[in-house]
Chain length 271, copies 2
């Protein structure tokens, strides 16, 4: 038993898709979330800058004595070197390996699409992970630099014309390769999962990285006897590096919850 | 005579629209440019964070002994407090006042539109500046949060369908108010000036803030006897806080110049 909170971080809003799944699976767990809203987006930046920001985010969560850290950010998961992860003195997972495993389990044709940020696609990390699991897959990667700005700007309605046009552009070359499984390789993307599903069609299996990471966290904590045991429901506190009210509003819409009293701004440069 | 360079900064790529105009007007001047590409965009962040970043950008330029600093960023120009500017021991201008003056000179109907980032619109700084110059103007402001991500992602072709759709959305309520003058209140926007012009129509006068700021800089340096005097052409050095090659490629397209040997990455957190 370990009643300390789970730490979750992302460049901004995307990681709350993982929080939602963690809360569904393990409602008794406390969660500390950090969204780096003063430096979002990460996915259009260089590997060096992404690593620097990720280490600061991890240091912040460690200062809250979390029992496990979830990099609920596809870009960080794809660009944090194994050596940096091994140095951590706390349990850690990204979203990439759980999502890759789920895609390999779901595909029948071994033709898998990956849509993600430019930094994730450039890393080829999804391809490497998938090739470690199944033999001779066909992997079609596509960078989608505008999805995060569109989602952070609230262009998330299923029938949003702009987001639909952008999504059609991005998905066309991926769907042309007749993939049967599509990894939403950035935790922001499940926020527009229905819109993406409308374009991909019901025969394409969509993989939500936050959901898969949450399942892994549950399995890991169970296996390591680190689940929380107590009477009350778990609580979730959110920290951000820019304005708290703005985040509470955006995240609240997605979580269908008023979180205004649970969001606080911190200075990430101190970590 | 003062042969020191002019310092110019922006959140990213936008400020090069001011550099282009400075080079046209004063080809003998050296320019030091800083683009904060590890933290772009600024216009969707809070006033507090924008001020913090701007002060670091200014400190970096001061470390290069510039004779004048141009905040070639609409968001910074609108959100930097007068007190912070007064404390500077170097000549300074933003783009806001020159653009507001140009708009007031151009309008015949006193109906002026302002398109800019959310932080600039929220500040009401353009409205205040215009009301100081002309009596009873009608000012229609519209925040355009997606323009910077679209431009930084290269969606800048005159016939780009996505950018056109977004621009039509943003401009509709402004044009409905029959403005005769439209301030492109962010230095990124002149990069898509033709596309905006196609939608606004030829009867609407577009104001380019970088161009107006460059004219002011020329007038100021002339008046203060601070122009450079020497034989050779001026040179421009670019510093960025993320990958140099990426910036050189994007900026090179716009400047129609190969600047790869003149771009260097620095750590802005040190300033």
């Amino acid at each position: 038993m370990d009643n300390r909170p789970i730490g979750v971080f992302d460049s901004g809003l995307g990681g709350i898709t993982a929080v939602r799944e963690l809360k569904k699976l393990m409602p008794q767990e406390d969660i500390i979330y950090f969204g780096d809203t003063s430096r979002v987006p990460y996915g259009t930046r260089s590997r060096e800058i992404i690593q620097k920001y990720a280490i600061q985010d991890i240091n912040f969560l460690k200062s809250h004595d979390v029992k496990m850290i979830v990099a609920a950010c596809g870009t960080v998961s794809a660009n944090l070197p194994a050596a940096a992860v091994e140095e951590l003195d706390v349990a850690f997972t990204g979203v990439l390996l759980p999502a890759a495993q789920a895609a390999c389990a779901a595909t029948k044709t071994n033709r898998i699409g990956v849509i993600a940020t430019p930094a994730t696609i450039r890393s080829s990390a999804y391809g490497k992970a998938i090739r470690n699991i199944i033999h001779s897959p066909v992997i079609i990667g596509k960078a989608c630099p505008l999805f995060v700005p569109l989602i952070e700007s609230g262009y998330i309605q299923r029938d949003n014309q702009v987001t639909r046009l952008v999504a059609e552009d991005y998905l066309r070359p991926v769907l042309a390769e007749k993939v049967d499984t599509l990894i939403l390789g950035c935790t922001h993307y499940p926020i527009i999962e229905e819109l993406i599903g409308d374009i991909a069609g019901e025969d394409v299996h969509l993989i939500d990285p936050g959901r898969e990471a949450a399942k892994y966290v549950q399995a890991f904590l169970t296996n390591e006897h680190m689940l929380t045991r107590r009477e009350r429901q778990g609580e979730c506190y959110y920290y951000v590096s820019d304005d708290a009210a703005h985040f509470a509003e955006n995240a609240g819409v997605f979580l269908q919850d008023d979180i205004a009293d649970h969001v606080e701004q911190i200075d990430i440069d101190r970590y």
